[in-house]
Amino acid sequence: MEPRILGLHHVTAIAGNAQRNHKFYTKVLGLRFLKKTVNFDDPGTYHFYFGDETGSAGTILTFFPWEHITTGRRGIGQATEIGYSVPAGSFDFWMQRFEQHGVTYNKPSEKFGERYLTFLDPDGLKLELIESKTADSRTPWTTADVGADVATKGFHTVTLTLASIQPTAEILTDVFGYTLLEQHVNRYRYATDTVQGAAYIDLVEVPGEARSVTAGGSVHHIAFRVKDDEAELYFRNKLLEKGLQPTPQIDRDYFHSVYFREPGGVLFEIATENPGFTVDEPLAELGTHLMLPKQHERLRARLETSLPPIG
């Protein structure tokens, strides 16, 4: 059987202050802190991973926190909204919580027959909580404050803002096997039937909008999920046949990656499920140690004192 794209794998965004970022996602939003590592390309800064208990694909939000980074701007050629699936009836809890913690949010609204609540993280990254109208049986990570009746279950939709949706839509349909599910005005919802959660990509067409600036509070790239290396190389070949120029496979320690820039300007990644986050820490201890890739292990003593403490 031909390999399939299994929805989203992770989303990577850019933050400013590391401690503030960590506190928001673990304490306010109630995600599990999965991995404390460093930016492989700039080991003087962190790379944080947040998600469910095991770091299931489709739940993973990752950040590069760069203190004093300039603020980005949402616009063309960018993933502009990250939507989490939450249980129906949880918005009152969340709005109260956002009030308590000084989080900027909008009143609930509706798209494609689903209620959603928009809010901003401390760096201005735009997120949504969405009451999915289809079943979402994924088990959420819960905390003392955020119980299973309200907790996020992982991604629902990521929205891309584009000058023209056509070239991007073709990648989703012709290469990734997504289909157009619904359209409302300039918003087009594409879906894959291979997974229950993290199955949607919304394309929003706004030809007159300014180009995005990727910096603090914006998404760096979105990653699609495949089962294994074989599936990844299958899609890499399909991209080459389509005239796109994907990178070679890159080892990211917790998954293997191929990157390419889709024609609408958004950086896409394909990421494998293997080997996962327990490759260097036991499940119970995920996120508790500073994990360094082997090429940076020699820097450990220095990094342990220079990286800001988190917790």
């Binding site: 930016n39 390309d41 700039d42 760069w66 070679p248 020699r298 220095r302």
Partner: protein, 205 residues
């Protein structure tokens, strides 16, 4: 940012014994910098030219605090790292990997090699210096083990202050580089024939 395709020219990577990684300047392209390769003595080299997204490796001056150039700067360094990895995957060892950059590409060249100092074939920086609002020695590690490095620059240069070039030379020398620094009075922000000649005699001999 810079997950753009690597442009190649010269000898095929599979059969070449040496590789030259060329880094274009702000607003430049792999084609520009590859055209420069015709003037240096590299007939037996595989030529690898990474491309910056929207032709810019990072948005602000190289003298800005590094965080203000993120995430572009880290991604740009990663793009250079991927070119190195590609050459190594083809069996070319680091002693046979060379670097050449102009302006923003020269800054990126020096920053990359200083963060990963080891014995390379050679390094040519046409008008550039190490990156940051100040030079933090803790950022750099390794030992160039005598790698020949050439930095050519103009005095004055509108973008690259001579003091930063001198400070970079000092730091690179401290990491074991055999640095040749040439400061050309009123040359302008360009590459001169004289610089090409020096690069050929010192690095591509």
């Amino acid at each position: 940012m810079h997950q753009e395709p690597l442009r190649t020219a010269g000898q095929p990577l599979a059969t070449a014994t040496k590789a030259l990684i060329l880094l274009h300047g702000r607003g430049g392209s792999p084609a520009d910098i590859l055209s420069l390769a015709r003037h240096v003595h590299v007939p037996e080299f595989a030529l690898l030219a990474p491309q910056a997204t929207q032709n810019t490796w990072y948005p602000n001056s190289f003298l800005a605090p590094p965080a203000q150039n993120e995430p572009w700067l880290s991604d740009a360094l990663a793009a250079v790292g991927r070119a190195v990895a590609e050459a190594e995957a083809a069996g070319i060892s680091k002693e046979n990997i060379y670097f050449l950059g102009f302006s923003q590409g020269a800054c990126l060249t020096l920053e990359y090699v200083a963060r990963h100092a080891t014995r390379y074939g050679g390094v040519v920086a046409f008008t550039g210096g190490l990156i940051g609002d100040h030079l933090d020695a803790a950022r750099y590690a390794g030992d160039f083990a005598g790698t020949p490095i050439f930095i050519g620059t103009s005095d004055p240069d509108f973008h690259v202050p001579v003091e930063r070039v001198r400070a970079s030379t000092k730091l690179l020398t401290g990491l074991g580089g055999a640095v040749t620094e040439r400061i050309y009075p009123h040359m302008g922000h360009t590459i001169s024939q004289e610089e090409i000649d020096v690069a050929n005699s010192l690095i591509f001999k």
